[in-house]
Symmetry: C2
Subunit: 472 residues, 2 copies
């Protein structure tokens, strides 16, 4: 199927049915993305103000056979939001649909439009003494519609789940321009196929999410944080089991960091205060959110002692106050920035069955060493089996010195992930970057079902063409 | 599309490719269901022993244009498992695929075949000191594949979610006979459309689930139970908020029971020991699973006192030991049996946004009173907004005296549910009973998307024909 360009004739067609101020010139930011790996082409930009306008735009695009690229906060890391290939696209930005429609504290529900910035969803929850637990580095810019379309992860997944687990209902415009009103606040609703979960994670290829009903949670009355030094990833997993046997679901986050990350901080961001004089080989950052009757420092010290006794932990620091907790988290949050400054050759957002994770790290490091001399910064949400396994040049070299090795590195990492039953995209999605990988590693039955669903719901292929699936 | 019968020619065709002992005569139990409202017709019964045999059966059925009705434990309450209409079907029972394939205690994962009985999944988890929290009345008979196909609910939803929330990965045979190997143990995996969530809740109309990777949980070290008397449903919801502010996710269950239920127990099951001398208008059964540092009785008494002070609770009993806790739960578990003996005229498995629940009960009761004099037993998983709102004859009358009123009662209840943004099927599904209701109350855009998906994945319409969607 060949799509038509979003040209002046198409613009004229839209002008006949929509007010003029829905359209704006395309600023460069709509054509760029955070890693600088894509540059979009000329396109038409629409900024609808309500669901009706979104439906009109999609319906007109369908009739004209014009491709539509939905655009949230532009923070995606796999190029899903970039109108790169083929004829000029209609970029459909949800940024004006940024209202919190309703908050239901007694129901633990918030209803928001797709263009609300993630941090604003968190703030609206906080204003009624509730927690919206989706949390990730880009939360000040990312918009909730994009978070849902990509099923975003982040640091709260261990306790609260991925974005899809936080969503009760959706309103969306389907590729034929129909508005699906699925904005229920229900916890139980078994009435046919779950379109919500089909649109979540489809990265805008099956429709545009325009609003969502999201779960809120009681704020854990007391919070505690600790940094614990472990000898190896196996010990980190045993520590996680121990923590859960003591504290159950109150374990909120469990992040693993390799020493390399601390060394990158020293190298690239020397002002960041480091907690250990000599960084341990591996460090676990653990966060707990407790009921009012439990003291965080006491609970974490009890865990620390039990872990020392079991030989799992060599050293550790329990935050004595919120400021210290923030300092611990600041280190974790600065790792991506340090990585960016060092400049990775190849980055991998992968997940591995928990039990295979230590083997993966050992075998992955060996496979990279076979290719050449590199530095590996391995860190991530290890409680979820999600690693950011990133490969960097040795000191004195830069990523541009290793252009030739990039493909071999990526292939070696992804082949190993695949062998071990892992995922080549844990939380970032497929976008445009990983379409080839999905074809290579994806289950054939699943891929053919995906193509059948895409063809059934979007027969003209107008929705985010070239993302997730190659254009038919 | 007209399907062909599973006749002797089809049986001969299957015999050419499958061993003889895959087939057995159809015992009556495969053609009946718990409420006695359906009786299936003659059919062919296959009991495959592995996924390959399931794939062969589906492929052959597709080529011959024969309808396939997947069969788990036969405990569904909406006729989804009954081969009732049209030409003779192939009943595909998963009961021989009843192996626990693997248990990964450190990963909190269990991998089971679809035919494992739910109670056996629970027992396998228990054997490694873990909890599989899906729990429902039929757990001794229901099989996990059916629980997943119908997205079963039950008493653990408040804390642990519905069946879909407990599933990490699936293996399934798609309608074209392809085996989808999606049996991942990953917590994060963003690689294309979520087929898992599409098959879960599709009630066998988009394929047959053959195995699942399921989440396990740390067992809460300490458990507590209380019965608390509240004046009305609003007070029950306020009590839930209070309980969550004190105990967060450690609130495991929160069930509401109307006095009518206790009276039915007295009438139909007089041997059941009742806790209150005079049953209160409304009773809440609350269950908490706590960390080792918290004493259940103390925590619940603290909640009790705070609720008394806030005027939410009038009376209450905190279980002092496990035996007493079991007695409290026994009452809740006997309610469906008492209902069965009294004989409901019309039963409704509905959910309502929590905030609208008190209004629903008031308006529902008024609407029923407009139709005639009836007794209403309203009870359910109120923490999830899920009510079993069942209408019974007055003493001295029987359900057969009210055949004419049944339709009006159901319509009145479902219309009100719909007006209030609720669901006409909270946890039982659509099956064959509620196909008309789904057409009446379902969102048109959703229904058309469902039909498009069904046609795309199952173009011949062989999978569970007539369930969820009317045959095309």
């Amino acid at each position: 199927m060949t799509l038509n360009p979003a040209d002046t004739a198409f613009r004229d067609r839209l002008s006949a049915v929509l007010p003029d101020d829905v359209f704006r010139p395309v600023e460069p930011r709509y054509l760029e993305e955070p890693r600088g790996r894509y540059a979009g082409q000329s396109a038409l930009l629409a900024l609808p103000r309500n669901t009706g306008e979104v439906a009109t735009l999609i319906r007109e695009a369908g009739e004209a056979g014009v491709g539509v690229v939905p655009y949230g906060g532009g923070t995606g890391l796999v190029g899903g939001q970039i109108a790169q290939d083929g004829p000029a696209r209609l970029i459909l930005s949800l940024e004006r649909m940024n209202k919190v429609r309703d908050v239901y504290p007694d129901e633990n529900v918030i209803v928001v439009e797709a263009g609300v910035i993630l941090a604003d969803v968190q703030a609206a929850a906080d204003a009624v003494d509730r927690l919206f637990p989706l949390s990730l580095a880009a939360e000040g810019t990312a918009r909730i519609g994009g978070n849902l379309a990509t099923n975003a992860g982040g640091t709260g997944v261990l306790r609260y789940g991925n974005a899809r687990d936080l969503c009760l209902g959706l309103e969306a415009v389907l590729p034929d321009g129909q508005i699906w009103n699925g904005l229920t606040r229900l916890r139980k609703n078994n009435t046919g196929y779950d379109l919500r979960h089909l649109l979540i994670g489809a990265e805008g290829t099956l429709g545009v999410i325009t609003a969502a009903a999201l779960k809120l949670f009681a704020k854990p009355p007391r919070r505690g944080t600790a940094l614990l030094a472990v000898e190896n990833p196996r010990a980190a997993l045993d520590l996680l089991s121990l923590a859960r046997s003591q504290l159950g679901e109150m374990v909120s986050a469990f992040e693993l960091m390799h020493r390399q990350g601390f060394e990158f901080l020293t190298e690239a961001l020397p002002d960041v205060r480091q907690p250990f004089e000599t960084p341990p080989e591996w460090t676990v950052l653990i966060d707990v959110g407790l009921s009012a009757d439990l003291d965080p420092a006491t609970s974490l010290e009890k865990l620390f002692e039990a872990a020392m006794e079991a030989g799992l932990v060599q050293d550790g620091l329990v935050a004595q106050n919120q400021q210290q907790a923030n300092e611990f988290w600041y280190i974790r949050e600065m790792l991506p920035e340090a990585n960016r400054r060092i400049g990775s050759i190849s980055s991998h957002d992968i997940s591995i069955p928990l039990g295979a994770l230590p083997d993966f790290i050992a075998q992955g490091n060996a496979a990279i060493a076979d290719i050449g001399a590199f530095r590996i910064n391995c860190f991530g949400h290890v409680g979820d089996g999600n690693l950011h396994y990133n490969v960097f040049p040795m000191p004195g070299k830069s990523r541009s010195d290793h252009e030739n090795a990039r493909h071999a590195i990526k292939r070696a990492v992804h082949d190993l992930v695949d062998q071990m039953g892992g995922s080549i995209s844990a939380e970032h999605g497929i976008g445009r970057t990983k379409v080839d990988d999905l074809e290579r590693y994806g289950d054939p039955a699943k891929l053919s079902a995906m193509r059948a669903i895409k063809a059934a719901l979007d027969p003209k292929g107008i929705m985010n063409p070239g993302a997730v699936l190659r254009e038919a």
